[in-house]
Structure formats: C-alpha cells, structure tokens
Subunit: 732 residues, 2 copies
Amino acid sequence: MSSLRSLYAKDGNRPEFQTNMNVDYVIHYKIPPESRTEAEANFTELIEALTKIGLATEVRNGADSSLLVFVKVASEKYLATQIYRERVQDWLYGVRATSPEKDVDKAFQDEPVTDAERLRLVYLLITKPKNDGGAGITPTVGQWKDVASIFPLHNHAFNRQWIKQWSSKYILDEKDLHHIRDKFGESVAFYFAFVQSYFSFLLFHAAFGFGAWIIFGQYSFFYAFMNSLWTVVFFEWWKKKEVDLAVQWGVRGVSRIQHPRTQFKWDHEAADPVTGEPVKIYSPTKRLKSQLLQIPFAFACLVVLGAIYLFCFSIEIFLSEVYNGPLKSYLVFTPTIILTGVLPVLSTILGNIAEKLTEAENYRTNDAHHAALVQKLFFINFLTSYIPLFLTAFVYMPFGNLLVPYLDIFRITAEKFSNDKAITTESFQINPDRLKKQTIYFTVTAQIVNLALEVIVPYVKRKAFKEVQSKISQKDATGKTSVADVPEEHAFLERVRNEAELDVYDVTTDYREMIVQFGYLSLFSVVWPLTPVSFLVNNWVELRSDAMKIAVSSQRPIPWRADSIGPWLNSLGFLSWLGSIVSSAIVFLFSNGAHGPDGEPWNISAWGLLFSILCSEHIYLALQYAVRHILSHFDSPGLQKERAERFSMRKQLLEESLGPDVTDRPVPPTVQSGEKITREALENEARRMSVSGAVGSPEYAFWQRQQGMDETIQIGRKLITQTALGNKTAKS
Amino acid sequence: MSSLRSLYAKDGNRPEFQTNMNVDYVIHYKIPPESRTEAEANFTELIEALTKIGLATEVRNGADSSLLVFVKVASEKYLATQIYRERVQDWLYGVRATSPEKDVDKAFQDEPVTDAERLRLVYLLITKPKNDGGAGITPTVGQWKDVASIFPLHNHAFNRQWIKQWSSKYILDEKDLHHIRDKFGESVAFYFAFVQSYFSFLLFHAAFGFGAWIIFGQYSFFYAFMNSLWTVVFFEWWKKKEVDLAVQWGVRGVSRIQHPRTQFKWDHEAADPVTGEPVKIYSPTKRLKSQLLQIPFAFACLVVLGAIYLFCFSIEIFLSEVYNGPLKSYLVFTPTIILTGVLPVLSTILGNIAEKLTEAENYRTNDAHHAALVQKLFFINFLTSYIPLFLTAFVYMPFGNLLVPYLDIFRITAEKFSNDKAITTESFQINPDRLKKQTIYFTVTAQIVNLALEVIVPYVKRKAFKEVQSKISQKDATGKTSVADVPEEHAFLERVRNEAELDVYDVTTDYREMIVQFGYLSLFSVVWPLTPVSFLVNNWVELRSDAMKIAVSSQRPIPWRADSIGPWLNSLGFLSWLGSIVSSAIVFLFSNGAHGPDGEPWNISAWGLLFSILCSEHIYLALQYAVRHILSHFDSPGLQKERAERFSMRKQLLEESLGPDVTDRPVPPTVQSGEKITREALENEARRMSVSGAVGSPEYAFWQRQQGMDETIQIGRKLITQTALGNKTAKS
C-alpha cells in the first residue's frame, strides 16, 4: 500500500502531498480509442461548458489514454454568492432556524465555508443541468460517456492526521465526527456517527453478553429479553441522536430539498397547480407497473438463493453426518466450495437486476431512487446472510430426523457414480452444536474474512493496476508519443493519476455491512451470547479500517449532505422487530434440552411456540412504546440549540413586523375614574352606533344604563344587598 | 323544549332572539348566601379587573340569588391589535404559512375576524393571568369561586338556520363545517367533521355489511377482513383529513401553542436555559410517582368492573338458563336492575377518581392534562362497554359447560333463602345466540337509549329548573326584594337567565360516545354484520341531535382552537388494531359451527387460535403499512393550499433578502473569448495570490500553463491526437 506507507513514513511529507494546487475538482476524461475528431469536439464542448459557468481549467495527460482536466472556481466572489444563496434557501426551506446575516461578509465570518460546503456546490455547478445554471456534465452518461469520473483531490495532510489520531484513541468524540463532516460531508459523517454510536452501545451489550454466557449459557430467555430491550433502546436512541446531529450540523430536513435525477425520463411537462412552474411528470400507473415487478423478483431471489442453500445444506449434512464412504474428508468441503464460487456471482447478478428494476421504476429524485434500491439490496442481503441460520434453526434442528431419509438420494447418486455398490452410511444424529457453530462462523470468522477482504482486495487491485500501468509506460517510453510532464509537476500529476484510478467510495456498502451485522445480533445472538463481544472488537477495527479505506484506497467522496442514515433506518427497525420473534422462537425450541444428545424426533408444541412468539412480539411493542415515551422526555443539545435559535428569530421577526416595543404588551385603554371612562366609552359607542345607524337602538340603551365602572359596581352592590336582605326575609 | 319550539315556531322571531345587545360574554356571578360585605368586595374587584383590561360592563339581576355581568370590549381598536398580534404570533410559530398583511386594515379586510376568533380572544383576555395581560378570572376556582360561569350568548338567528338546514339535508359538506368553525371554533368543528367523515365511510361499510349479512351470515372470515381493512382505511384517511382541515382552517400545529393550566402548582421557578425566560418547574420524579398510581387504578377498575359484570353475568345465566323455579320471569331482570343501578354510579366514581389522579399528576398545560384524563376515561369506558361481550365471547361460549356447575352456589343460596328445599334447575345448554343478541343490544338498543337520554335528560332538567325558578319568582313576587327588570329588557334578560342555567357543552363526552361506537364496530361487528347499518342510521340522527344539543340545551361553547381530534386519535388506532385480533379470534372460535345446538364441551385448538390471531394481526399491520403508503401519494386541497402559500412566501422573502432580481440567477463571470478571460482570470489570480503571498508558488505556476479556455482546448486536442497516434503505433 504505497500511499498508506507514504502517509506514515517520514518522507510522507513529500511536496506532492502538501498541496492540491488549488484544484477543486479533477475530471478524468477517457479518450475513446476510435474516433479522434469526435473526441476532440467533445473535449472542446466540455471545456467550453466549464468555462461558461465560471470555472478555470487546465488539462494534463492522464494515465492510459486519458486526460486530466483540472477545474477551479475562477471567481471566489461568484462562489460566495452561490454559497450565500444556498444558505438563504436552506433557511426558507426550514433547514436552518436562523436566516444568514444580511451582511454577506459578516455571514461568512460567522459561519466560515467548510471544505465540504465548497466542494458540494462546485460539484453541483458542474453537474446541474444547463437550464438550472450548471454545466450539465454527467459522468459516464449520454453525451458525457467519456467522462470517467469527477472527483476532488484528497487533503493528504488532513488524512494523515486523521488516521494517526483515530488509531491511537479508543473512543471517538463529537469533535472527530465534526471534522469528518467538514471534510467529507454529512453523508459520510452520519455513517461514522452511526457506527460509533453502535460501538458505544455494544460496550454495554458485550459486558452483559459475557456475563450471560457465563451464568446462563446459550438459549437463555433472560438474554433474549435483554437483547430485545437493547435493540429497542439503541434504535430509538439513534433516531433521536440522528435528529440531534442533523440539527447541530444544520442539515435537519435537508432531505426535503431533493436533487432531481438526471436519468429521469418524463412523459410530459405540466404546470405545477401550486407554483405554476413546469413540472416533469411520469405516469404513476406506469411506475406502479414497474414496481409490481418487485414481487416476482423477490420470489425469484427467495427461490434461487433458497434452493442453492438448501442444496448445499443437504449435501453437507449427508456428507458430514450420514455418509461414511471414501474421500469423506475431502468431500466435506464440496458445499463450501459451491457456495464460495456461486454466491458472490449470484449476489452480483441479483444486485444488477435490482439496479435495473430501480432504473425502470424511473424515480424523479436521487433520494427516491436510492431508497428503492436500498430496499431491494437489503432484501437480497437478508436472504444471503440469514437463510443458512434459518435453515439450521427451523428446519434441521427440529425436523432433521424426518428429513434425513430423503437425503438417501445422494447416496444412490454417489453409488451410481462411484461404482462402489455399497457406500457406507452412519445412522443419523442431529448435531446439537451445529447452530452454535454456524452462528460463531457468521459472527466471528465471516466478519474477520470480510474485514481482510476489504483491506486486501483493493490493495491487490491497485498493485495489479500499477503493474499494467508501468508496463504501459515502459511501452510508452519506447514509443515516441508519450508526453513528458513538466518536471516540477511530475510528482503531483503521478499522485493525481493514482487517485483517478481508485475506487469510488460508496457509503451504502459500509452501511449494508453494519446492518447485516446488527441483524445477526438481533436475530441469532441468543444462540451464542458472546456475539456482541465479537462485534465490539470487530467494529473497533472496522471504524478505523473504513477511515483508512476512504483516506487511502478510495477517491475523495463528493461531500453530499444528509439528515439521517436514510432508508437503512427502516431496515434497522425491521431487524429489531424480527429479532423479538426469531429469538423467542429459538429460545422456545432449544432452551429445554431439545438439543440433548438423545436425538429423538422432536415433539414441538405448536401452540407453545406461537404463544411465545405472540408474547415476545407484544412485549417488544410495549417496550418500544415505553422507551419511545421515556426518551421523548429527554432534551438534547441539538434540539436545545434549535429552540434557542428559533426563539431569538421569532423575537427578532416580531420586532421587525410589529415595531421594536412589541415585547411590551399594548396598553389597554383603561381609565380608572368612572367619569372618564364613561365619556370615552360613550364617545366610542356613539361613534360606532352612529356608523351603524343605531343610536337609540335597544343595544345602545342597554349599554347606557350603567355609565362606567363605578356605576356598575354601585348597582351591583345594591343588588347584592337586596338579595341578602331577600334571603333573610325568606328565612325569617 | 321551549327554546327548541321557539326556534321553529313563527314567533321564534321574538326580539330577544334577534339581538345579543353586543354582549361578548356574560359572567354569571352567584351571590354567596353568607357574607354580604365579602361578596360586595369581591364583586367590586371583579368589575375593576374587567375594566382594567379594557372591557365595558353592565350588571343585571340574575335568577336565584345571582348577578349577570355583561361584558363587552370597550375599544374595538384595542381588540383589533390583540387579534393582529395573535395572527402574527401564529405565523411565527408556523401555524400559518403566510405572515399577515403589514397594513393592519388591509389584513382585516383580507381575513375578516370571525365570531370564534373574537370570542376566543375576549375569553382569553378575561381568564389569562394578570401578569400576562388578562383579568385572571378563573370561574369556580380560588378567589373567583363565586363566578359560576363565563359564557358567550347564543346567536339564535344562526342556530335556527343551522338546525333547519341540517335537518333537511342528507350529507353535510365542507361549507357546513366551515360555518360551525366560524361560530363555535375549531374544537367543535373537528368533532362534527370527524362524525361526518365517519358517517360517510359508514355508507360503504353499511352496504357491504348488508351484503355480507345476506351472503355470508355471521362469523364470516371475509367480513372480518373487510372490516379490518375498512377501519384501517378510515383511520389512515382521517389522519390525513385532519391535517388537511387544520391547514384549511389555519390551525395546523396550533397544539404547540399551549395554554398553561391555572391550577398548575410548581416547586420553583428557573430560567429557561434557552430563552432565559422564567419557567415554572415541577419535579418530574414527583409527577412520575403520581403517574405510577395509574397502574393500581387500572387494576382496581378492572377488578371492580370485572367483578360486577361477572357477578351479574353469572346470576343471569343461572336464572335464565339453569334456574327453573318460582318467579323466574321476574328474577331474570335482577342482573339488569343491578347493572342499571350500580354501573352509572360506579362510572361516575371512577371518573372522579380519574380526574383526581390527573389533577395530582399536575400537568403544566391544559392539553397535557386533557390528554392524560382522556386516556383514563377511555380505559374506564373500554371496560364498561366491552367487558360483557368479552365475557360472552371468550368465557361463556367456549367454557360455559365447564363453568356452569360452579353456578350451583346460587341455587344453594336461593334454597336457603326461599325455604323451598328443591329449586328445580334445567340442564344447562349454551345459548348459541347469546353473543349475537348481546351485540344487537349494544349496537342498536343501547344506542337508541343513549340518544334518547341525551335529548330527554337535559329537557327534564331544564323543566325541573324552570319549576323551581318559577316557584322562587313567585315567592319573590310575594316578597318585596325582587328587582323588576326594565320592561324593554325583560325578555332578553329572561333569555340570558335561561342560558346561564344550561349545561356547559363538553365535546369530550360526544367524542367518547363515537369512539366507543367505533370500538363495537371494530371489535364485534363480525358477530352481526348489520352493525354498520345500525350505526349509519344512528349517526345521521346523532349529528343532528348533537347540533341541537349545542344550539338548544347547552351554553354556547367557548370557541377553542384545535388541530386534531386530539388524544382520541390514539384510542381510535388502538381499537382498530385490537379489532384485528378480537375479530379473528371470534371468527376462529365460532365460524365452524361451534355454536351448534349440541352444546358439547368445546375443544379449542389453541395453536389454531393463536395462529389465526398472529396471522390477522400481521395482515392488519401489513394493510396499515400499505394503506399509509398509498394515501401518502394523494394530494389534498389543504396541503396544496399550504404549499402554494409557502411557495409564494419563500419567493417574497427571497426577494426581500437578496434583492428583487433574485429569481434571475446571478450571472457567472464567464467571458467567451480566450484573451479576455485570460486577462481577467490573471488579474483575479494575481490579486488573490499576492494577497496570500503566493505569486511564483507552484500553485501559481500550475494554473498559468494554459491561459484561458482556448489554450486548454488547444492543448487538450493535441494530447488527444498524440494518444490516438500512439494507439495506432502500438497497434501496428
């Protein structure tokens, strides 16, 4: 890992890592191998489009038949107005509670522009449609299919310090997250905030899990309850935390300001009934038709993945627990080999279909598209991750003895192939430790393998690319067409060429990993209470390795804003709820010695199972209600800040619209003396009455009987006295 | 019903119903029988307090040792500033989307002051604490315990037309509701809107129910499903409708502006950490302690009401289906007599305890207090309304044969008392129609009885009061202390004395009735699919009789604002959810002939029951999710209006803060020609660089290589050509 080494090594302070040459973005333009003239025309258009929106450009040679177009905002002042405009818009949409200072210079002094804010706006300038004031450059799509990517350059000085700091501290604090947010935007910051919160919560759960493992062992009802409680508290707490962070970062409700998808196809344009602006419309029934395709797709996923798992599972059981013939020790690995070979391919295929389907659903905004895609991906991941454990827990363990005779088909097949007329088989016994072993595999081994893959695969990829590249450059060196870099820029350009070849960081992948992990915890950790301990350790490393991934093996991400972890929140809630059901079913099935060595066909009390599921689900819902209620009473710094801001803004606006002394209440026209009020009231009354032509009306007469307060009081007292006397008379 | 008759009769146009003498409020002051001087002092203070806040007063003799203080706003201009202030405040709290016109006169022209708005503000003036700018007069509490009530006078012209219109049309439309809102405030209008919506939805359900009754009969699975679907659709639709109405009426989010409770007791005052304003604080742990009392209270309710019902139920079964001795035809009524005698008393007692408990919980705002009280009342109502049916469905019907032997205790008791040594008993048979009969009783008979009571009881009360009053006035006539009214005012004053004695209209009672009715529909209508038909008819009458109740037999209500049906919404959701469980259980238990005449001890398949409950609950949740999703795609006039308002306001504010030409995008500093941009960019660059002292730095050099767009394009094309050539060389 050359760049990693460089980050740490003494000579990491090499000049090419010290400056980004004031570059805002690099556009990686792949020269198409065929048509030179078309490429030139296209390139000219690119530069013209960029210049037209006020960006300065420089072009350099890239690696492997490509160009690097460096882009910089030509006028800082123009950018400043753009940023200010955006802040005002945020305020109008209710994203920020206070309007920005009217004095623009003071506004930027109060709230300096962060790297993320600047980069986001420049990116929007480059990619926004032309009639929206942007250059309309959409990488890899349509006219711009030769634009491979648009990416900002890493701030290596920051990255080096970031990695250094994080690897030497145990717990990350809010300040660390704020730094991430300033550099990489809220979207990435929310991921780290989520993992960090999850990690902190795991501290408790790991301690409890360890204790439970020692005291209660596996399949403990108490552990299942505490596990459910923990998922509820964590989920509800995170929902609050998320809002709090969004407020602190000034992005609450930012998901309402949605960016339209460039790929959106519309049927016709119509005027918005409300605003009168033209709106692109796509028939909802058409979309619904596409959406309905999800149902067969879901079935297909379930059938295909289910079949593969079931097949491998059957072979595995047959080989490991029934079969006793030749080559057993090798054959045992058959299912693992099948799964390792087939699953990744299948996942990729299904993932691609999911993407195509979402594409066909043709959403208007990026957020809607993303949410729909995430939903499908979650479903696929749910199946690939949890089917094996579901099979073991709810098919193999309870019904193993009933099913094994059917596995004879394998023996017959094997006999046919091996010509060995009698393959020996053992009598089948349910392996009571199978579920535990599998859980440990998924919660420990698989996590470690994943982590390793995340670090190693990109490294190998980069290495391989370097090899190819150096071969090409050698070839180039022999040819005469290679354009030599200016010597003082060479190191910098080499670095940029490197970054151009890195993967694009996709926070979705990282979220997916965490959510799947949370699922193991919620659904199956009752099988092995040490699960949270394993995850605790794993996530400590995960947080750092993800940081490393961004800093070293990915292009610097576009700093998008976000006000939550988005559609994953639903997945989290779903897994937490499902956990209450699955855990209780597992506890019910296995807690009273069902996994004993006798291996007898298992007699399930169906009503007991259903009852325990019903109970635990409602306990879960009640817990959720209670936790939500309790948490709603706590204040959070972000919400407090927002309240304070709104209060001051209200006061200010009130003063503006009602005059400065509005906080003093208007004085009612009271006059203490009876005569004065009479006169005044009379005059008012007379005026009003004369207007409505009612002097002398019964109403006028009614209000003239007692003129002023004193008379009313006098007559009232008289009436009281009379009543009192009357009472006495009546009594006597 | 004298006033009812007067509303319809030709001579209903009597002058006293034509005018309210411009009176805003009448304060009914009861003269305490003991201390005359104290009363006089108190009265003086009352008038002074009213005058001090700018109200004109007149005093007249009331009925039965009381005074009527007539109150009117002295200065219309002062009231106008109050109303304007409130509208601005609404805007600042986000209740209204647009700020009121800056020109006050135009503001009132655009949005005239409604009766409700005026009366609400005057009421607030009278009752608000003194340091908040009000007179601080709180009826029946503390210093003002002699103030029996503060009420506005009915607008009889409006009432007459209202009742006339409603009784002659089948369906109420939005305009009718708007009228209610303008006269009686949003709180009452929401009740009518809710019942009207419920009524409209019942049209479909009644049609379906009638069909289902003919085709499927009772205990139909299909009916249960459709019933559940209907409750879900209605509930979700109403939630949307509610928001829509709130927006149309300009009260969305008004529940956030909360009125502090006068009876709130605080431990200490502290400065709000946010606003710095003093806040009254009551220890949350103290409140929690009081709140925990709800648990034993709930248990007590359950035990007491459960025991009563169980007792009566046992007697009833014993008498009607086992006992065959003397006086059977009379004894059968014993349980009914017990229930009719005991239940209302018990309900009142429990209701009072609930009120005491809520009082002890000491909430800071009226809304919180009300919500807590409603929760308790709902629980009590839930028990009293549904226990009998629960007992029949889930105890008597399935387990009757097992339990009846225990009823022998009644026979033994009876034998002891009657000296008749052998009371004959029949052999017990479960009455399969019992559940249906009971359901019909609750959904038809009880509804009619309720309706009748609602109309008759107040009438009788009023009659009785009139008798007493006329006796007193006769007595007065004989005595000499009676103060004669001025003849031209006599009729008007008599009318006001009448209104002073009317009940205060409490919308809670009416809501409660509707929610309980909804519960029968959701929980038990599967027993008798004609239930919705009965409710349809009932609610047509109910709507009109409630209107009558307000117009004729109640004081005119204080026109409070509201943005929803408040805490009843939760009850509605709860009943809808519970309905899915109870219905499915009933269908499972009785659909396959369990109610056959064989009366054999009943063999319940527990797992089947649990499974059907589990299924139907999850079907319910899925339906809810789907309906919510679908409804979220529909637009509503209110939300459209709000969007339009927000849009225009945003545009306006944007123009105000960024200058009028902000809708035109700022023009980027692009220059087409290569030379010009070079110069400009150079100058900018040089300036910036010189400021940061970086001329001659590598960054400066980097951006100087290609000066302007044209050079970038030129060099880029050269690079493309070279690459293309290089490719060719490599290929050849």
